[in-house]
Amino acid sequence: MKTHLIALLSGILFGAGLALAHMIDPNKVLNFLDVTGHWDPSLLFVMIGALSVAMIAFRFILKRPAPLLSTSFHLPQKTSIDPKLIAGAAIFGIGWGMSGYCPGPSVTGLSLFSSESVIMILTIYLGFFACHRLLDRP
C-alpha cells in the first residue's frame, strides 16, 4: 500500500518536472537535437539537473542493504555493451528525432489533452509488442 503511494507521488514529481522543464514541448526536444539549426541546449540542462541530484542520492541509497519499503533493489543485471543495446538505442533515437517524444513526455503530454500524446502512447505500445514478438526467445 505504501509502495503504491510512493509510486504515485514519484510519478507526480516526475511529471511536474517534465512539464516545468518544457520537455512536454516536442519542438523543444527537436531543437535540442537540431545542432546545426535552432539549437536549444535546455534538454542538456534537464539532464544536468536530474543527474546532479540522482548521482549523489543513488550513492547513499545503494549503500543500504535494501530499500525502505521492499526486500531488495530491482536493478538491471547486465553490465556489458552488446549489439542489441546499441542497435536498440539507435532505433529509439531515430523515433525520438522523428517525433520529438520519448516515453515520459508522451505520457505527461496527456495533461495538455494533446492528440499527439495519444498517438505516441499507442504506437509506442505497438513497438513494444513488435519487439517482444520478434526478439523474445520462445
Binding site: K2, T3, H4, A7, L8, S10, G11, L13, F14, G15, A16, G17, L18, L20, H22, P26, N31, L33, V35, G37, S42, F45, V46, M47, G49, A50, S52, V53, A54, A57, F58, L62, L69, S70, F73, H74, L75, P76, K84, G88, A89, A90, G93, I94, G95, G97, M98, G100, C102, P103, G104, S106, S111, T123, L126, F128, A130, C131, H132, L135
Partner: protein
C-alpha cells in the same frame, strides 16, 4: 540559440532526480518510463498496480504544473502524423530492445555510472541528432 530556458530546465531536472531517488529509496525501483510502461502488460500480475499509479502520476504532475501556470506549455499543432506514428513505433521498439529510454538509461543508469547506459545515451542522442538533421535540413520535411 532558440528559446533557451536554463533555469526551468535545471529545476525541472532536479524534480526528476528527486522523483527517481524517491522511487529507488522507498521501493527499490528504477524510474525508467519505457520499462514501467512495458510492465503494464509484461510484468507479473502483482507487479502492475504501482506502474499504473506512477504513469497516472506523470499525467497528474503535468496537470498540477498547468494549473499553477496556465499556458506554460501548449500542444503542438499540425505536425506530420506519419512522422509521429512511425516515430512512436520506433521509440517503442528501440527502447524495448535497448531496455531503456532517456529516464532509465540517461538519468538512472548514468547516475549509477553504468557503462551500458552511458553507451546507450550517447547512441540515442547521436542518432536523434542525425535524424533531425535529415528531416529538417536534408529533406526539409518540417521547419
Amino acid at each position: 540559440m532558440e528559446n533557451f530556458t536554463p533555469f526551468s530546465a535545471l529545476a525541472g531536472g532536479a524534480l526528476i532526480g528527486i522523483s527517481s531517488a524517491m522511487l529507488l529509496f522507498f521501493n527499490g525501483r528504477i524510474a525508467g518510463i519505457s520499462g514501467i510502461m512495458n510492465g503494464v502488460f509484461y510484468a507479473p500480475k502483482n507487479d502492475k498496480v504501482w506502474r499504473l499509479l506512477f504513469l497516472a502520476g506523470l499525467v497528474i504532475g503535468g496537470l498540477f504544473l498547468g494549473a499553477f501556470a496556465p499556458g506554460f506549455n501548449t500542444p503542438r499543432q499540425g505536425y506530420p502524423i506519419v512522422l509521429l506514428g512511425i516515430g512512436g513505433f520506433l521509440v517503442g521498439f528501440g527502447t524495448r530492445m535497448a531496455n531503456g529510454c532517456v529516464s532509465g538509461h540517461g538519468v538512472c543508469g548514468i547516475a549509477r555510472l553504468s557503462i551500458r547506459s552511458i553507451a546507450a545515451t550517447l547512441t540515442f542522442i547521436a542518432s536523434g541528432m542525425l535524424t533531425v538533421y535529415v528531416i529538417r535540413h536534408l529533406l526539409e520535411l518540417t521547419a
